[in-house]
């Protein structure tokens, strides 16, 4: 049996307050002295459209210099002075959205010899975002060209990590011609074509009209968090952030199959499955994925690795934002058909035989531990809350845990029965 969750202590250590920041920017603050650091993240929401490469470029361009610290070395030196304050600008895909995140991690003021480190670090982040080192009102040409070249190379380099690349190719196949199949960095061609005008107008629009949320975790007063929100959001009125993102439309078809060959020692097999919206939004989807392939106690690990020694790893996970279940394995090319057969067999078994109580409890315990351990990881807390809000799932930790606890064997069977294989991608290793 699963022990009752101590919701009171958990609620206390994960109790965000939501403040109405200037311009309506929601500020999610978790005040705690538990950590030596303070983590802040401003997540802006944009469509995954033709301007995504420009936003990806902005993440790097804006964090390489500011008006008062124009060079990379100047800005890095300032971060060093602020006790290794880490400033970040990044983009990521989340369902049909591109999330643009500006973030910082700094030491709590009490460790910085009386410095008001949070204020100084958030001022530096704000300056990076709003006051880049412009020349005659334009982004510096050298900075723009360097970051553009770096972005093009980074996009081309996505193919170098073969595991990730195989997953990407499967996603592109399964979600072709929809935003769910797009990478948040855009294509190399789109990045190479970026000019100052395009990047500048994207920057203007991002900072003046993109909805978003601010997350702060650490030893920070409400007033300090609101001041940081004012510095970043500049009191610009913004639309409400997204609450429950749409999922891809359902398509029923024979599985698409793509095989590509490279001179590799190991082949990568990636299977993509679609689920109907009701299944994706059910808390049982995660439980099902855990039973199926979430760790060493899962069906796939036991069968593919332990029983047949066909792979070092074989696992399944849910990509909730795109309603996709993914199974990945690194294998010998000659085993691809057998591994696919085993995966499909295990899925079929789960659809017709209720999981045992032991198996269900194992998965629930694993989920419960993952969720509860978030309160020990300051940066993960904000990320979890954002993902849950965007998915329209319970965003308060005790609610999310309770939802997972309530899942039954019948719920898991229902999910398994609704899962449909839709794409099979094999990156075939041909090295001898």
């Amino acid at each position: 049996m699963v022990r009752p969750v101590p919701t009171s202590s958990l609620a206390a250590s994960s109790a965000f307050v939501v403040l109405d920041g200037p311009g309506g920017l929601p500020v999610h603050l978790l005040r705690t002295r538990k950590f030596k650091t303070v983590a802040l993240s401003w997540a802006l929401e944009c469509p995954l459209d033709e301007r995504r490469a420009a936003r990806a470029l902005l993440g790097d361009l804006l964090t390489r210099g500011t008006a008062s610290h124009p060079g990379l070395a100047d800005l890095s030196a300032r971060c060093d002075e602020l006790y290794a304050t880490d400033l970040g600008g990044s983009v990521g895909a989340h369902g049909p959205l591109q999330l643009v995140k500006f973030s910082m991690v700094t030491l709590a003021d009490r460790y910085a010899e009386g410095l008001d480190l949070f204020r100084q670090a958030s001022e530096l982040l704000s300056e990076a975002v709003h006051e880049p080192p412009l020349q005659e009102g334009r982004f510096r040409r050298d900075h723009l060209e360097q970051e553009r070249a770096n972005l093009v190379r980074a996009i081309e380099g996505l193919a170098d990590d073969k595991g990730h690349w195989a997953l990407r190719r499967m996603i592109e196949t399964l979600h072709a011609d929809t935003p769910y199949g797009l990478h948040s960095w855009g294509t190399a061609e789109e990045a190479a074509a970026l000019d100052e005008a395009a990047v500048h107008s994207t920057w203007d629009d991002l900072l003046t009209s993109a909805p978003g949320r601010l997350f702060v975790v650490g030893d920070v007063e409400e007033e300090q968090a609101l001041e940081a929100a004012e510095r970043l959001g500049r009191s610009v009125p913004r639309p409400e952030p997204a609450q429950r993102l749409p999922l891809p439309e359902q398509i029923a078809r024979a599985p698409l199959r793509v095989t590509e060959a490279e001179d590799l020692s190991q082949s990568k097999l990636v299977l993509g499955f679609r689920l109907p919206e009701s299944a994706v939004r059910s808390p049982a989807a995660t439980t099902f994925a855990t039973v199926f392939g979430g760790g060493s106690h899962s069906r796939l690990f036991k069968r593919v690795r332990e029983a047949e020694s066909l792979a070092y790893g074989c696992g399944a996970r849910m990509l909730h934002d795109s309603g996709t279940l993914v199974v990945q394995a690194g294998i010998d090319a000659s085993s691809a058909a057998r591994v696919e057969e085993l995966v499909v067999e295990e899925l079929a078994r789960l659809a017709i035989e209720p999981v045992s109580d032991d198996e269900l409890q194992l998965s629930k315990r694993a989920q419960s531990r993952r969720l509860r351990s978030l309160v020990d990881h300051p940066r993960a807390l904000g990320g979890f809350r954002l993902a849950q809000l965007l998915a329209g799932r319970p965003h308060e930790l005790p609610d999310a845990i309770a939802a997972a606890e309530a899942v039954t064997a019948a719920d898991v069977m229902e999910i398994a029965a609704a899962v449909r294989l839709d794409a099979v991608y094999l990156l075939e290793g041909t090295a001898t």
Partner: protein, 426 residues
């Protein structure tokens, strides 16, 4: 027997005890944390290739193979028992140590008990060894396709003539084929003695209960001295073995990795740690993001965000690495050598030294927020023989003169090698 409080420069609540068996136990008591993270390490890694006083060789990849096999005993897969307790477990093998970890919330005491139990109750059969050979062979093939891994071990093979740090931690498909149950048992008996091991925890568990649990586990294990073994079969020359390693893989951009072999090895405890810190600070002043070199190389497109520097120091070996993605490895190497040369001529920037120390201090404090980082560093400190969080004090003691001496001692042409992985020609 009781825990003693360990004074440390960060004033963290650290407790320590040594069990009757010789096992060292270190605990970072965090009552405000929900989860317990425990790491049980043995001072036996991939470089330990000489087994016992008789000098019998340990096959390449054995420490890693042993790590895999301990997860299976007469009752099956140990991971399943952790899963039943709602915990997750894993292990990793490095050059100088093997560490088994568990992350738990409920039933943390039972998980700790199980961790101690499974690592100290080996069960090897030839049939199970054969099955594992197939799984590890797949793991090795996965590394074979990883350009960063290939560049790193290509570089190690250039730097080192004889020291086993040059060999892949997981071994090769051929070397692991030679491993059998008897070899595993022989090496287990040599290296998994409690006095060669350390248990480190970070979390809210009651220290008194941890103490009782460890004592109950260790008391029956006796107080026999550990079997003797040597770490290194010496004789490594100070200079590199080869100047360069080249390879092609299906990648988009060349990877360039330069290594500097440590010639000033030896010493123990905090002397080794200080050498590591001094070299890291030196490299950060010269090549960190706030350095003039980083900015100009970045502006010229010779480096990008993937560029990084690091230094590893152990008693018997040490090396620095500098590298990242680069379209013109030859030009980058020449520029890097110019930076070293200029620092020799003109000295180091005192302001940059102050900044980098600030940065290190901030980074060390930040790391304490992570129970995982704390447990791993406690084990490293234990095996190295340094005080926990001693880095905080040692960084403060470093001087510019010391860094200049490090530059002179460490950076020599004949100690430098490079590995370049290029995109395969179509």
């Amino acid at each position: 027997m009781s825990f003693e409080r360990l004074e440390n420069p960060l004033g963290e609540p650290l407790l320590a005890m040594t069990a009757s068996s010789g096992l060292r136990v270190l605990m970072h008591h965090r009552p405000d944390f929900v989860g317990t993270f425990a790491a049980f390490g043995t001072n036996f890694g991939s470089v330990d290739r000489v087994g016992g006083a008789d000098g019998q060789p340990v096959p390449e990849g054995l420490a890693h193979f042993l790590e895999h096999k301990l997860f299976e005993d007469q009752d099956g897969d140990v991971s399943d028992r952790f899963a039943e307790l709602g915990a997750s477990t894993n292990a990793m093998t490095g050059f100088v140590g093997t560490t088994y970890i568990v992350s738990a919330i409920d039933e943390a005491e039972r998980c700790l008990d199980l961790l101690l139990d499974f690592v100290q109750t080996p069960w090897f059969t030839d049939e199970l060894v054969e099955k594992e050979q197939g799984i590890i062979a797949q793991e090795i093939r996965m590394y074979d396709d990883d350009p960063d891994w290939r560049a790193f071990f290509g570089l190690m093979g250039c730097l080192y003539e004889r020291h086993p740090v040059r060999d892949n931690i997981a071994g090769t498909v051929e070397s692991i084929a030679e491993i059998d149950a008897a070899t595993l048992q022989r090496c287990y008996d040599l290296f998994y003695h409690p006095s060669n091991m350390c248990l480190a925890l970070s979390g809210p568990l009651d220290p008194e209960r941890v103490l009782a649990l460890v004592e109950a586990d260790q008391a029956p294990r006796g107080t026999d001295a550990a079997p003797r073994h040597r770490r290194v079969d010496g004789g490594e020359p100070p200079q590199r073995r080869l100047e360069r390693f080249d390879m092609e893989l299906p990648i988009s951009r060349p990877r360039w990795l330069m290594g500097i072999k440590e010639r000033d090895t030896g010493g123990a405890g905090e002397a080794v740690l200080r050498r590591e810190l001094a070299t890291r600070v030196l490299l950060d002043i010269l090549f960190g993001r706030s350095s003039a070199a980083f900015e100009s190389l970045y502006a010229e497109g010779l480096i990008d965000e993937t560029f990084g520097v690091s230094h590893t120091a152990e008693a018997s070996f040490g090396f620095s690495t500098l590298g990242g993605d680069c379209d013109d490895p030859g030009a980058l190497q020449a520029r890097v050598m110019d930076v070293f040369e200029r620092a020799r001529r003109e000295g180091l920037d005192a302001q940059a030294f102050g900044r980098v120390r600030n940065k290190l201090y901030g980074g060390l404090l930040r790391a304490v927020d992570s129970p995982e980082n704390v447990a791993y560093s406690l084990i490293s400190d234990c095996f190295r023989g340094s005080r926990p969080f001693a880095s905080v004090e040692l960084v403060e003691q470093l001087t510019l003169d010391e860094l200049m001496r490090r530059l002179e001692e460490h950076v020599h042409d004949e100690a430098i090698a490079t590995a370049v992985i290029r995109p395969a020609s179509a």
